[in-house]
């Protein structure tokens, strides 16, 4: 390797290292701000901003969805297995919205500590399978649970 080539190689390595380190530092400093949403635990700890729009994310709690038969009003609870928050929303929910589904809502914190949502987005998970496989998995799980109860 000629000295000139070596210099350029060193330059390239130095640039990559320098940029990587500064990016790592910047991202660590910004960490919380890059999160798309606050989890119910973060909201319970009072980390969510008062009086301005923010996003909350979590799983829709089983059996918590209550629809008003007269209007599009709907309320449900979001949990992250540790804490739960109440969400109120008026509008059409996305296709993937269901109990046990991960979702993200945008809204403001109400006076009673619930989230008044203006937008509801559904997250989908990283699992892909045909419906038959999902059905088989579910049946197997139920069978296992039934067996466990018997014993």
């Amino acid at each position: 390797m000629r000295p000139k080539q070596r210099n350029r190689l060193v330059l390239a390595i130095v640039i990559v290292m320098f940029v990587a380190i500064s990016a790592a530092l910047a991202l660590t400093a910004l960490e919380e701000n890059i999160n798309l949403f606050y989890s119910p635990t973060m909201i319970a700890n009072g980390e969510a901003p008062q009086g301005r729009l923010f996003r909350a994310g979590g799983m829709v709690s089983e059996g918590s969805v209550q629809r008003d038969p007269e209007s599009l009003e709907v309320s449900f609870r979001l949990n992250d297995e540790a804490n739960e928050i109440l969400v109120k929303y008026t509008g059409i929910l996305p296709d993937l919205f269901r109990e046990g589904q991960g979702i993200v809502v945008q809204g403001k914190l109400g006076p009673d500590g619930s989230v008044m949502a203006t937008e509801v987005l559904a997250k989908h998970d990283e699992n892909y399978m045909p419906p038959e496989v999902e059905h088989a998995l579910k049946t197997a799980k139920e069978a296992a649970a039934a067996n466990a109860e018997k014993e």
Binding site: P94, A122, Y128
Partner: protein, 251 residues
């Protein structure tokens, strides 16, 4: 003692590269076409719908390979631009320059199909979450590379400037990949590219992987063709180009 093996040095001479790229482009093109036909048939017709998303999930067979390629092409582009700058290998710089528009196209495709997928599933075309934003930055990096390369007339200077830009932008690649783990995002986590077992059923994984390989060959076919053109343009005054033109009787 050289880092670059001898056969690669020989291949990188403009004349040899031109010959090799022509043959390679044709072969890769036919392989890509063959795999596209199989992959699209399996993906769009012969694979099962998803348990949650139904048939909408089929957009995955284009979206996911396009997104993988957007990152893969960037790495190839950055490394070959750096090699071209360090060792002053024209073929390597030409390869990097040829990669940029193709990579930009894959990135735009990943973003567009992602938006079309996001609307029915998430309920929105776009959110500023870490994954989507970093992928958009990747598109701008490609466009910046192309703009910088065409803005500088002197080829040596252009090669140095673009190589540095490409190397700086490389930091974005791990950010795109790990964004879904490091931060809360609307985009879901990795399905296939993780150390764990892929969380996708085999009947959907196979067409996905066929499509991924098809995209790779499509890229190779295109990049060789483009790099070949750039080589011809750079070397237009050289003897071998004139001989080539004479041979083909086009002058």
């Amino acid at each position: 003692m050289s880092i670059i093996p001898n056969w690669l040095y020989r291949l990188s001479s403009p004349k040899n590269f031109y010959r090799f790229a022509g043959t390679a482009s044709n072969w890769c093109g036919w392989i890509a076409l063959f795999l596209f036909v199989i992959g699209l048939y399996y993906g769009l017709i012969n694979s099962p719908p998803d348990y949650q998303q139904g048939d909408t999930t089929r957009i995955m067979y284009v979206h996911v390979p396009a997104a993988w390629m957007s990152m893969f092409v960037y790495m190839v582009m950055a490394i070959s631009a750096a090699v071209g700058m360090i060792w002053r290998i024209k073929a390597s710089t030409a390869f990097a320059n040829a990669s940029a528009p193709i990579g930009a196209m894959f990135t735009a495709l990943a973003l567009a199909t992602g938006m079309l997928w996001g609307k029915p599933m998430w309920g929105t075309y776009w959110v500023w979450d870490a994954r989507l934003t970093s992928e958009l930055i990747l598109l701008f990096l490609y466009l910046g590379y192309m703009a910088l390369q065409s803005a500088i007339d002197d080829r040596e200077t252009a090669a140095r400037a673009t190589a540095i830009l490409a190397l700086v932008g490389m930091v974005n690649i791990p950010i795109i990949h790990y964004s879904v783990e490091w931060w809360n995002t609307l985009h879901q986590g990795a399905t296939v590219t993780k150390l764990d077992k892929p969380s996708i059923h085999i009947s959907m994984l196979i067409p996905l992987l066929i499509m991924a390989v098809a995209f790779k060959f499509y890229y190779l076919s295109n990049v060789f063709r483009r790099a070949r053109c750039e080589m011809l343009e750079r070397e237009q005054d050289k003897l071998w180009v004139r001989e080539l033109l004479g041979e083909n009787g086009s002058e």
